[in-house]
Symmetry: C2
Subunit: 355 residues, 2 copies
């Protein structure tokens, strides 16, 4: 049951994938420790420059000889709408004042052509550095990119939030699909019908596995051996865990972020689009609460993400949880501050007792 097509494809011992969380969480140490312990370490490279990706790939190779992977964000076309940017800057102004960020409006830096160009270069680095596994979030890359990656024998993983998205991913030639349940922390991967609505894994996994032939990885709220075996019973061949690895010792998450998860209850996470312009799940704090009434009017990703960057950075530096993006899935009560190796060992011990 636990050694299957996915562990074989990904060349891993256990069907446990460390979710590729973006924003500095997936340190080389975390990724390498996970892979060395028998799981699959993954770098959340969506926000990284091509040079940063190259550097981290090389660093990880010095720390592990095992398989590891990288995740990229597929860019979607977006327009800069000046009114939306002005509205957002207006609403964010009192927060900037409170964080002593001065009176300056922020100008979003993203330009679609540049974002797309950066994405091409990220893909180029993945190929050049011979990263064995590449996953994608927020959509599907062009046929040319998929063909190029496959030519280099890179295993391709897509991210789906509905049966239809999983079917589109399969048809596009992906090897594996990650199915993201409503329980998942961080950004929703929806790319066909973006929205706040999302489907719990108990419903999602069996409905997806009934409609695709490629193997399914389950993501969302899974933290221990119980979740691993439950996901397998529902038809998933492996699990992808974010929050569980975020609070690990080797994770690069801000210590306040880790502490917030370790103290949170299951009903304290909410979906918000105020931080980035895309729906994402995190622990409700002052920022999410105060921005709720405005969030439908904020610009879309990545513009809003640019606009809140200085706020998130300052909040993080000042250890101010009120304005940080405290991404978390719906199982924070199950989070531990373990070393990644111990987390994986405990999961497998618990799983083996259940089967």
């Amino acid at each position: 049951m636990l050694n299957n097509i996915i562990t074989e494809q990904l060349k891993i011992t256990y069907p446990i994938i460390q979710a590729p969380m973006a924003g500095g969480i997936t340190t080389s140490k975390l990724v390498a420790e996970v892979s060395n312990a028998g799981g699959l370490g993954m770098v959340g490279a969506g926000y990284m420059t091509p040079a940063q990706i190259r550097e981290q790939m090389r660093e990880i190779k010095t720390l592990t000889s095992k398989s590891f992977g990288v995740n990229l964000f597929v860019p979607s076309e977006f327009d800069m709408v000046e009114d939306e940017v002005n509205f957002s800057n207006h609403v964010l102004h009192p927060i900037r004042e409170q964080l002593q960020l001065g009176n300056n409006k922020t100008t979003p830096l993203s330009d679609f052509q540049e974002v797309r160009q950066k994405f091409y270069e990220q893909v180029r680095v993945v190929i050049e550095e011979r990263v064995p596994i590449c996953s994608f979030t927020f959509g599907i890359p062009s046929e040319e990119i998929i063909a190029e990656l496959k030519k280099h024998n890179i295993i391709l993983i897509g991210t789906a939030c509905t049966v239809q998205e999983a079917q589109v991913i399969e048809k596009s030639g992906f090897d594996i699909v990650v199915v993201q349940g409503s329980e998942a922390g961080g950004h929703r991967g929806d790319f066909i019908k973006e929205g706040e609505g999302s489907i719990g894994l108990m419903s999602m996994i069996p409905q997806v596995v009934d409609h695709v032939n490629i193997p399914v990885i389950a993501a969302g709220g899974i933290m221990d051996g119980r979740g691993l075996i439950a996901a397998h019973c529902l038809g998933a061949k492996a699990v992808q865990m974010g929050t569980a690895f975020l609070t690990c010792i080797e994770s690069g998450a801000n210590e306040n972020h880790k502490a917030a998860i370790l103290q949170a209850k299951e009903d304290q996470t909410v979906l918000t689009r105020s931080f980035s312009g895309k729906w994402a799940r995190g622990i409700e704090n002052k920022f999410i609460h105060d921005m709720r009434e405005h969030e439908s009017l904020f610009p879309s990703f990545p513009i809003q993400n640019d606009l809140t960057k200085d706020i998130r950075k300052a909040a993080s530096t000042k250890n101010n949880q009120a304005f940080m993006s405290l991404w978390s899935g719906q199982s924070p009560r199950l989070a531990k501050s373990y070393a990644a190796k111990r987390l994986i060992e405990d999961i497998m011990a618990e799983a083996k007792e259940l089967i």
Copy 2:
């Protein structure tokens, strides 16, 4: 694994509970067939008069000698706010016209004292008819009612949507707690912090079982043997299934409601409070869609429920899916139009293959 404290307490062969769906769905035939097949049939009696409950209890006893149960709604205090009622009537007016219900405003009939009195009488019937199992939704009855039911050896089941609610249910002396995940169709059972947010079963089950000692029944999106075994791995001792039994041949659901579920996809259900004043999950139709912008302003349960009653009834009579409450969980792709006995047999056969 499948014979445990719950099957023993409830005197059933299989850990499968047919959810007590209100509104005529749980016919005596359905309830008796489920119990005769080894599960637990339950009557959704929340909206029934005490006389109707008594009559149905007696009818079921002629159809089965097995254990069965009944569910009641715990009344919460509410006030009639005239402005809210007027607003609701105003917004509902064009729908009433379209359904040729005339120009009359509807006056809500519910009065809290009367609702509470009716609840007392419902409880009295449960005791007098020696119904062996009684579950409650929307809260916890008074200490006196709990004591009285326990004195008569009636097994008490509460409904929780958070860890805290499960803990309160345990402390109140309940024997068992149903944990309702975000996947569940129909009304949310939240009673401490009511709202649109809800937690997927993959997260809910392990976090609840870690914090209560009474056995847990999992509800939400479970339709087959895969879901049954997954729920068990997560720590639940049994499952409660609504949508799966709603589409069964013996169910009293409107045929259009059954057809809508059998044709629906997993991403077509949404939460709405427009039908009843309480959040509930159903297949999105014209009513839910058109009322969305107004729903936060509608009166609370049961007033809004009274106000939409004529609309729901007329839509049902006229086979007009656009204005019916098409309650469904998030797994409609797994629904079958089977006899209840066959559904249970199939679930158990699939479950046994997985363990």
